[in-house]
């Protein structure tokens, strides 16, 4: 039996794998799945009596998975990933561009109270305008860019004072 630790959406999960011939019995929480490898990165699973082909492959420490066309990113748990390195999901008090691009519009100003999932900024990339929303409710502490600026994904565009600071 082999045990693996993962993070999904910031929460820890563990999976244990038992091999029986070519079949993998994988237990996650209360559920056990039978997976049969079916070629590169593909696994056949029976779920509620229905057969489905799952695709799963790693890019560094993130496993990209396709289950019934639903796409999930499962991160390998390690000390680094717990610290949130390379990913801004945990930094709820900062707004980052989802990809490098140009700021079209900043929709909030310093001092403004904002709700969770409120539109904060519009970034243009790949000829499309993308709205970036807040991850938590709070108050705008700083706006570091203005419309027309180029941004990368590492510098926060907006910083917040959030209400539920852990």
């Amino acid at each position: 039996m082999t045990r693996y630790d993962f993070l999904y959406d910031g929460e820890p999960y563990e999976a244990t794998v038992e091999r029986e011939g070519e079949i993998l019995h994988v237990t996650v929480g209360e559920r056990t799945f039978q997976l049969r490898p079916a070629g590169d990165n593909l696994y056949v699973a029976d779920v509620n009596g229905r057969r489905t082909v799952v695709a799963a492959a790693f890019n560094k420490d993130v496993c990209h998975v396709d289950v019934d066309s639903v796409l999930l990113d499962i991160r390998e748990a390690s000390e680094e990933s717990f610290a949130g390195a390379g990913d801004h999901a945990a930094e709820k008090d900062k707004i980052f561009a989802p990809m490098p691009g140009k700021i079209v519009k900043i929709m909030v100003e310093v001092g403004q109270e904002i709700a969770e999932k409120q539109a904060m900024v519009i970034v243009e990339a790949m000829k499309m305008e993308n709205q970036v929303v807040s991850k938590a409710a709070g108050k705008v502490k700083a706006v570091n860019f203005k419309a027309g600026d180029q941004v990368d994904t590492e510098t926060p565009i907006i910083e917040l004072d959030i209400e539920e600071q852990k």
């Binding site: 082999t2 693996y4 993962f6 999904y8 999960y13 999976a15 244990t16 794998v17 993998l24 994988v26 237990t27 996650v28 929480g29 559920r31 799945f33 997976l35 490898p37 070629g39 590169d40 990165n41 593909l42 696994y43 699973a45 779920v47 489905t52 082909v53 799952v54 695709a55 799963a56 492959a57 790693f58 890019n59 496993c63 990209h64 998975v65 396709d66 289950v67 019934d68 066309s69 639903v70 796409l71 999930l72 499962i74 390998e76 989802p98 990809m99 490098p100 691009g101 990339a125 790949m126 000829k127 499309m128 993308n130 709205q131």
Partner: protein
């Protein structure tokens, strides 16, 4: 063997470049790809017989640079250029420059392109030709009185549109007479900013229309036919994502009438080669000419599937001066075809573009399943270009079977490394309103707005698959080459030891 052209330059990238190269191959014509710095290792470059580097990643410095395209064609001995869709395909400078350089442009004449590029002029020409238009102004309004009169005649709500328009810019819907003046002013300002031309006009606003377009093709000998319709009502942000043919809304009688009008449009524009005439189709069964697209369309494969034609091959044939192929005079629609556009975008996050490297790529296969793809394992999806990666097309005897086949094919289409809208499209096609054929351009707004994706339901199986993939990752790592330069994993050739064919068998006998 004498071919239609000596060599064709494909002035595009990704899936449509691959599609055109395929057509060249089937005609036995060598093809030349052009590529930017971002496309050094792209599929379309490798697919062509030759390729020419044309500059940096930004389109202005490569795929939109006419000088470089013409140079590349001349330098490689091409005698024709196919523009694909997007980029230079509707730029009337390209056919002009081709003519000056002695190259054949595989597309319509520059004049037809120019006419159709101007919404006001083309509207006037089509009104004269007797094609039904959305009630409203024939041309642009001289002053507010003209707008007021036109609005009165058409009846509210009305829409203000930019003559040079597109992409929703310079467009205003007006519900009441007192809002008209502000809307006209606003639309003018926006049009001036977006297109450098503040000409706007007024039309009746058609609510809940279907988007139905007709494929047409004309040769240089005065022949012009339509190749039936495509319904492209399923759109998000004014961009089509699911297209099908035939349209469930058309009777044979209306189809014949609309088809004849589409041919009328093409003839009135002096059109040659393949083009698409777009109509709005309202709830009462009236249809109105919208515009003509003077290029091959993204969604052309569904037409090919139900009619058994190859539209890109036919484009090349008519550009070479041949009359339309015989088959185009006796076409029928066989079965039903659907296309889903596979964009690198997140269907669960407002279709936000998604970038990355494809770490897994496997296409669906089976009878009636077609993939027109510009990507493969290892492809990098960058922010430089339109995020379309591929198109999945299915063909089945009926609409219902086509929907089922498409859903199965989408589930079999595994692309890992970027997000896609596969599941969103599956949910659209599983919706009872889609199944019942209630497909209007507001379908997504009305039916998908409160869609909730229960990702949690898939979480545990996804984690289980990640565990299986972890095992594989570890196995691959231990197979890594050891210091003797050999794979550490035992190979049957190592296990078997020294042997010779037949040596032991003789001993045993």
């Amino acid at each position: 063997m004498e071919t239609l052209f000596k060599k064709i330059l494909v002035a595009n990238r990704s899936e449509i470049a691959v599609r055109v190269i395929n057509a060249c191959r089937s005609l036995g014509i060598p093809s030349v790809a052009v590529y930017s710095k971002a496309d050094l290792t792209s599929k379309h470059r490798r697919y062509a017989d030759e390729s020419v580097f044309i500059g940096e990643a930004p389109p202005r410095e490569s795929y939109l640079d006419i000088d470089k395209i013409i140079d590349a064609a001349q330098q490689t001995g091409c005698d024709a250029i196919h523009p694909g869709y997007g980029f230079l395909s509707e730029n009337s400078q390209l056919p002009k420059r081709c003519a000056e350089a002695g190259l054949t442009f595989i597309g319509p004449p520059a004049d037809a392109m120019l006419l159709m590029g101007n919404k006001v002029e083309s509207r006037m020409r089509m009104a004269d030709a007797g094609v039904p238009l959305i009630p409203g102004m024939k041309g642009s309004g001289a002053d507010m009185t003209a707008f007021e009169e036109a609005a009165d005649q058409a009846g509210f709500p009305v829409m203000i549109k930019a003559a040079a328009g597109g992409g929703g810019k310079g467009m205003r819907i007006v519900h009441k007479p007192e809002e008209l003046a502000d809307a006209v002013e606003g639309a003018k300002r926006e049009a001036a900013g977006a297109f450098g031309d503040d000409t706007v006009y007024l039309e009746k606003y058609i609510s809940n229309p279907r988007h139905i377009e007709f494929q047409v093709i004309a040769d240089t000998h005065g022949n012009c036919v339509h190749v039936f319709e495509r319904e492209c009502s399923i759109q998000r942000r004014h961009q089509k994502i699911i297209e099908e043919t035939p349209s469930i809304a058309l009777t044979d009688e209306i189809r014949a009438k609309m088809g004849a009008d589409a041919v009328k449009v093409a003839r009135a524009a002096g059109y040659v080669n393949a083009g698409t005439v777009e109509f709005l189709f309202d709830l009462s069964g009236n249809y109105y000419f919208l515009e003509m697209n003077t290029r091959i369309q993204v969604e052309h494969p569904i037409t090919e599937m139900v009619t058994g034609t190859d539209l890109v091959v036919e484009q090349i044939r008519v550009a070479a001066g041949l009359p339309l192929s015989e088959q185009f005079y006796s076409l029928t629609q066989r079965g039903h075809a659907i296309e889903c556009r596979i964009y690198a975008e997140d269907g669960e996050a407002n279709f936000m573009p998604s970038t990355g490297k494809l770490i897994h790529y496997s296409e669906p296969v089976g009878p009636g399943v077609r993939v027109d793809s510009g990507v493969e394992l290892g492809s990098e999806i960058t922010i430089d270009y339109d995020p379309i990666m591929a198109k999945l097309i299915v063909h089945a005897p009926s609409r219902q079977l086509a929907i089922r086949k498409m859903i199965a094919a989408l589930n079999d289409y595994k692309i890992l490394g970027v997000k896609t809208s596969k599941r969103f499209m599956i949910d659209c096609m599983s919706h009872k309103e889609f199944v019942n054929g209630h497909t209007y351009t507001n379908f997504i707004e009305v039916n998908m707005a409160d869609r909730e994706m229960d990702v949690e339901a898939y979480r545990d199986l996804a984690i289980a698959a990640a565990a299986a993939a972890s095992g594989r990752k570890a196995a691959l790592a231990s197979e890594a080459v050891d210091d003797t330069g050999r794979s550490a994993a035992p190979s049957p050739w190592q296990n078997i030891g020294a042997w010779q064919i037949g040596d032991k068998i003789h001993d045993q006998v």
